[in-house]
């Protein structure tokens, strides 16, 4: 039993079901991120927690109280909207305290709460301005202030950073994280940016087409994706997916692929029992950072294997150099140190950290548990 329980929740618009049996228990103080491509139902789920959308099936409970029929203002939640939704006719101060005013909080107490929040978010000097006179980042702060001042049980964020420019987005991301460390409040945060999801969350729910594909810590999601969708959605550049054949040799599972010239190559998996898949086609998943030059290989890994292949393209990107090659007829990207001595159209000795490799069933897309 969590702090916020989403139990078997479905949502239908007419005959169309857009959310299917979502089941998530969020503990107190957790930072849950709902991430997924556009239209997967993230906002719908968030709005259902907020009470802005009705619940078609299942139930949502906050602190063990089922809130299905409870009005948004009585759920003790606060929401930060993508567009900030600041009241244009009110000053920043009035915007922040409007909720308290509606809940009948006396004036002196409102002023005290406002001062506290304004100080926390460093917007003291903006309190008399109208939203129209603020920059994007400042509006963002005010919107957060409006949520914070209510001291709710659960904070709901719907893509709060997506209207900001790249640099500000990174800054605000850090601030939100700091805020969470400081206040230790329960947060549900919607984004379609997987980096935001990885950096902010204590747990991530990856969603697609109305289904929760995987629920887990950022590390679980990144290192042990439950299926191809999660594997390719999380991480940038995306995980390389290479068609391979599974062979077993001396009791050890190997993925057989071909190099750029069509010559067969074998990469051995670490521990794990793949015997059920012997002789069958699989999809081998390797993250770009698991393919490096031999010096750049992870020293803590027990299973780094050499791979000799032709380099197609190199793309220096400052801190890293992205190197493209062809394996089993597919473009595969490796992420290397900037000073790796790698050149296009020349063969190179790569090192593959097979400890981080995963295998997928090509038919269902599910990860092969070994």
């Amino acid at each position: 039993m969590g702090f916020l329980d989403i139990r078997n929740v479905t949502k239908s618009y007419g005959a169309v079901e857009v959310l299917h049996r979502v089941d998530i228990a969020v503990d107190e103080g957790e930072f849950l991120v709902l991430v997924g491509p556009s239209g997967c139902g993230k906002s719908t789920l968030l709005n259902m927690i907020a009470g802005l959308e009705s619940i078609s099936g299942g139930e949502i409970a906050i602190k063990d109280r089922v809130v299905n029929g409870v009005h948004p203002s009585k759920r003790n939640i606060a929401m930060v909207f993508q567009s900030y939704a600041l009241y244009p006719n009110m000053t920043v101060g009035q915007n922040i305290t409007f909720g308290l005013e509606m809940h009948g909080t006396p004036r002196p107490e409102r002023d005290r709460a406002l001062a506290e929040v304004a100080k926390l978010l460093q917007i003291d000097h903006l309190l008399d301005r109208k939203p129209g006179q603020l920059s994007g980042g400042q509006r963002q702060r005010v919107a957060m202030g409006r949520a914070l001042v209510r001291d709710p049980d659960v904070f709901l964020f719907d893509e709060p950073l997506s209207n900001l420019d790249a640099k500000l987005r990174v800054d605000m991301r850090t601030e939100i994280k700091k805020l969470h460390h400081k206040l230790k409040r329960t947060i549900v945060y919607v984004t379609h940016d997987q980096i935001e999801a990885m950096t902010l969350s204590t747990r991530i729910a990856v969603m697609n087409k109305g289904y929760v594909q995987q629920l887990g810590t950022p590390k679980e999601i990144y290192d042990s994706p439950a299926n191809l969708f999660v594997a390719t959605f999380m991480g940038s550049p995306a995980m390389n997916i290479i068609p391979a054949k599974l062979v077993v040799e001396n009791g050890r599972a190997l993925a057989e692929i071909t190099d750029a010239g069509g010559k067969p190559l074998r990469l051995g998996f670490g521990a794990g029992n793949y015997s059920a898949w012997e002789g069958r086609e699989i999809l081998l998943g390797i993250r770009p950072e698991a393919i490096t030059d031999p010096e750049g290989a992870d020293r803590n890994s027990h299973n780094v294997q050499p791979l000799h292949n032709m380099v197609t393209v190199t793309e220096p990107a400052g801190a890293d150099t992205f190197v493209t090659m062809v394996l089993s007829g597919k473009d595969v990207i490796a992420r290397m140190r900037a000073d790796a001595a790698v050149h296009p159209h020349q063969p190179f000795d790569f090192a593959v950290n097979m400890e981080k490799a995963v295998a997928f069933d090509p038919k269902t897309g599910d990860r092969i548990q070994a």
Binding site: P72, Y87, P88, M102
Partner: protein, 292 residues
């Protein structure tokens, strides 16, 4: 080459612009001419009009025609001037405009932010009411007013104009509020504001421009209406009907100077609304509020 062509472009631009201004000026003068005629002749003794040039400035300035039009002219059977009718018009127009605008605003608010099953059909029907000609509703309306016991009274006229104005005021506000971000309403709901509180505190404060448009539209329409006033006014007739009675009366000499003064009196309120509210509108109450 390009420089030369640019030069000619600029100079032709200047000439064209001067031409446009000239034409606009001529049109403006043309349209202002009737107002000039009315103004000039309303401050002349009658003899100067009947005996001379309508366009000339008065030789003898007088305000008697205005006084007469306002308080002593023969209208129908009584020599009351336009004063009582003016009052009737005000008593009719102000509540009718206020009520139809308020209801239109609430309708627009509901139709955009509190959607319900069949709301588009209802809006479609309301929209349709904008296109129903006055004549068609005359007889049913007379019957309704009779049943309600409001026939021939100011409240009856108010009701007629509110009902007829609702289609337009709803249309205005619905379209305006459709562009108003729904997230604001949701935020206010979470903040704990109810239906009317959201309307009052969030929607209305940014509704200035559309309210002005709606008020101008309703005011001029209702003030200028003749048909409903003549049909349902009974003894409490509005300004337009009285003006008609004054001008059309067949007894006695036609006092053109009084007619001119009366016509201006009848037009003044709408003029004031245009001048005052129009400026308010242009200044723009929205300045940097919702957008951005």
């Amino acid at each position: 080459m390009s420089v030369a062509s640019q030069d000619t472009a600029v100079s032709t631009g200047r000439i064209t612009r001067m031409l446009i201004y000239l034409i606009l000026l001529l049109f403006a003068l043309f349209y202002l001419l009737p107002l000039y005629v009315m103004g000039v002749n309303s401050v002349k003794p009658l003899s100067e009009i009947t005996g001379g040039n309508m366009m000339a400035l008065p030789q003898e300035w007088t305000l008697d025609p205005w006084r007469s039009a306002w308080s002593t002219a023969q209208i129908g059977v009584q020599a009351t001037g336009l004063k009582p009718y003016f009052l009737t018009s005000i008593l009719m127009v102000v509540p009718a405009v206020v009520i139809s605008t308020m209801i239109g605003a609430i309708n627009g608010y509901i139709l955009t932010k509190w959607r319900f099953k069949g709301d588009t059909i209802i809006f479609g029907l309301m929209l349709f009411s904008c296109f129903i000609p006055f004549q068609i509703v005359l007889i049913p309306m007379a019957r309704v007013l009779g049943i309600l016991g409001l026939a021939g009274s100011v409240p009856g006229l108010i009701l007629v104009h509110v009902v007829y104005g609702l289609g337009f005021s709803t249309l205005y506000f619905r379209n305006y509020y459709a562009a108003f971000p729904t997230e604001l309403v949701r935020a206010a709901q979470i903040d704990g504001a109810g239906f009317f509180r959201i309307f009052w505190r969030i929607m209305l404060p940014v509704s200035g421009p559309i309210t002005v448009v709606c008020v101008i539209w309703q005011f001029t329409n209702i003030w200028n209406d003749f048909l409903f006033g003549a049909s349902f006014g009974g003894t409490t007739q509005p300004m337009t009907v009285a003006l008609n009675n004054l001008v059309q009366s067949s007894t006695g000499v036609k006092e053109y100077n009084v007619h001119f003064a009366a016509a201006i009196l009848a037009a003044i309120p709408t003029l004031i609304v245009y001048i005052v509210a129009g400026r308010y509108f242009v200044r723009g109450l929205m300045a940097g509020s919702v957008k951005g």
